[in-house]
């Protein structure tokens, strides 16, 4: 899997991804700073993809174990992050509907 990605493509992807990130967050009301940070943090747990790749390509059980631990940490970040963000945002939602 690591073969198909050339340097220039990868750098283009990096550049465009960064620009997209800069563009997406413009003005944020202070109310949303905490939830936004928490949500973005959950997304950064996407390293779980790399952990999954590591597990599948690993040749030894020890390496698979490393991958599993990495996966565990990443999922802790992802699942916890999204749920906690949802809990925070649910409170704002209730206010709007009333």
């Amino acid at each position: 899997m690591s073969g198909h990605l050339g340097l220039s493509e990868a750098l283009w992807v990096l550049l465009l991804g960064s620009l997209l990130g800069l563009e997406l967050i413009g003005k944020v009301p202070p109310t949303l700073h905490t939830p936004l940070m928490s949500g973005a943090n959950a997304i950064s747990g996407i390293t779980l993809l790399a952990a999954l790749t590591l597990i599948s390509q690993a040749a030894s059980p020890a390496l698979r174990a490393v991958g599993a631990v990495a996966l565990g940490f990443a999922l802790f970040n992802v699942v916890g992050g999204f749920l906690v963000t949802d809990r925070m945002l649910a409170m704002f939602r209730r206010k709007e509907s009333t």
Partner: protein
């Protein structure tokens, strides 16, 4: 081709999610979209690479996901900042482990892969230890040791950074073992960079570390050759940087002074302890009865909630008191400082939890001109954000921080446990002003005392003017 469609769909959803999270109306749906995007990405990846090693995957999934969900449901809203920091640290650990593991993969890595491993280890480790220090600081398990504020710390940090680069160089030359000292040094560097930062500035640091964990994820994407991971990591990295900047602006702090200035900009020995509690002289204190009498006669009341209110779990009592006053015809609003609580927006979350109407929360710039015509201000567990010294005393570490000008109001009651100094450890002149009275006690008990006293005064029995119920 199917996998490509899934990957592109995931990127699109992530972008929509991140964008939607910045608007109140769409935030919750957007959060769901981002979660869906991650789930899609996992499905796409598994479709591509198969299920080899699935027991390990299932194990990591169940344990990590389970613990994350457990914590997310059980954690109190008051400790949200440290929870986010903890999650973030775990993301860093994950990138670090993936990178260390990828070195051992059969086939080896090309130069790009090797450099990416180093970046991932370095940034992942800094994110991890830095986030843990942030958790400790927010929990007040660790303070800011005075030795960390000496100027020499910059030299030590620079030395560690240089040593990290040397290790990176050695690793590229083929000494795989150099990754061990690199990991240790990066972890230490994370501690060295965050330990001197004052607790009040911690949110900015968490936001910055959040950006780092995006960078670490992007680097891990280079290592395993996943475009999706690179895009998502880069997006979070860039968005985190912008959010850090937005937060700095809201707190009127510059990023460099947060990172390199030490606790609230002073690197001298004056920060800790030297301005103790005993220095207050002209402090008047009063009982909840007297406070209730003043409230009963007021027309315009402003509450200034702070972290102390949240710690005492007194949001609900506050809401009850506000309702009672409204029934009595008193105009009630809440003044929200941008950094009330422990993080921008934290206090809004806490008050929303107690069902406080959205439109009664007034931001600092809007409410400041109204204080001169406010009868009563009640400060509940806030301290530094109402300190007039931030305006008057250029020598004060708080100088320049925008504050709520409660000293302009006719009378001010400060509900506080004791005369202890605030989070930033700075003496507050407000307590000594003639119009200020201290009401000592736990915020919740004081509020309930006020409610009881107001009821005894007959407030709330006869509904006065209607139409304030919204």
């Amino acid at each position: 081709m199917g996998e490509l469609t899934i990957e592109l769909g995931a990127v699109l959803l992530l972008a929509l999610g991140l964008k939607g999270l910045a608007k109140i109306r769409t935030a919750r749906t957007a959060n769901g979209l981002a979660a869906l995007a991650l789930a899609l990405a996992v499905v796409g990846l598994l479709a591509q690479q198969g299920l080899a090693g699935w027991p390990w995957m299932l194990g990591g999934l169940a344990v990590g996901g389970g613990l994350g969900a457990l914590l997310a449901f059980r954690v109190a809203m008051t400790s949200m900042p440290e929870t986010v920091a903890l999650f973030n640290g775990c993301g860093g650990v994950s990138s670090l482990l993936v990178a260390l593991g990828a070195v051992q993969l059969p086939g080896g890595l090309n130069l790009l892969g090797q450099v990416s491993v180093l970046v991932s280890v370095l940034v992942g480790a800094i994110t991890c230890s830095g986030s843990l220090v942030a958790v400790g600081k927010l929990k007040e398990w660790i303070g800011t040791p005075t030795w960390t504020l000496r100027p020499q710390r910059h030299a030590i940090n620079i030395l560690m950074a240089v040593a990290c680069l040397v290790c990176c160089g050695l690793a590229l030359k083929g000494f795989a073992l150099a990754l061990v000292p690199l990991t240790v040094l990066s972890l230490l560097l994370g501690v060295g960079l965050t330990l001197p930062v004052g607790g009040a500035d911690m949110p900015v640091v968490i936001s910055l570390l959040n950006s780092y964990s995006g960078v670490a994820a992007a680097a891990a994407g280079f290592v395993v050759g996943s475009e999706l991971l690179i895009v998502a990591g880069a997006m979070v990295g860039a968005a985190g940087l912008i959010l850090t900047q937005v937060m700095c602006t809201a707190m009127n702090r510059s990023l460099t002074s947060v990172l390199f200035g030490g606790a609230l900009g002073v690197a001298g020995p004056t920060v800790a302890g030297s301005e103790g509690k005993e220095t207050y002289t002209n402090v008047t204190s009063c009982s909840p009865e007297e406070c209730a009498l003043t409230l009963e006669a007021a027309e315009r009341v402003v509450f200034v909630p702070g972290y102390g209110l949240a710690v005492a779990q007194a949001q609900h009592s506050l809401k009850e008191l506000a309702r009672l006053l409204e029934q009595h015809g008193v105009a009630v609003s809440y003044a929200i400082h941008p950094v009330a609580g422990r993080m921008p927006g934290h206090m809004n979350v806490l008050l929303a939890e107690a069902d406080v109407p959205y439109d009664q929360l007034v931001e600092m710039d809007v409410i400041n001109p109204d204080f001169p015509r406010t009868d009563v201000v009640i400060v509940l567990g806030a301290n530094d954000v109402v300190n007039p010294r931030a305006k008057s005393d250029p020598a004060s570490p708080l100088y320049g921080m925008p504050v709520l000008e409660v000293d302009q109001a006719r009378s001010v009651f400060v509900v506080k446990r004791s005369l202890g100094s605030g989070y930033a450890g700075i003496r507050n002149d407000l307590f000594e002003l003639p119009q200020t009275s201290m009401v000592f006690g736990d915020a919740k008990q004081v509020l309930q005392g006020l409610i009881q006293n107001l009821r005894e005064l007959g407030v709330g029995k006869v509904p006065v003017a209607s139409g304030k119920a919204s």
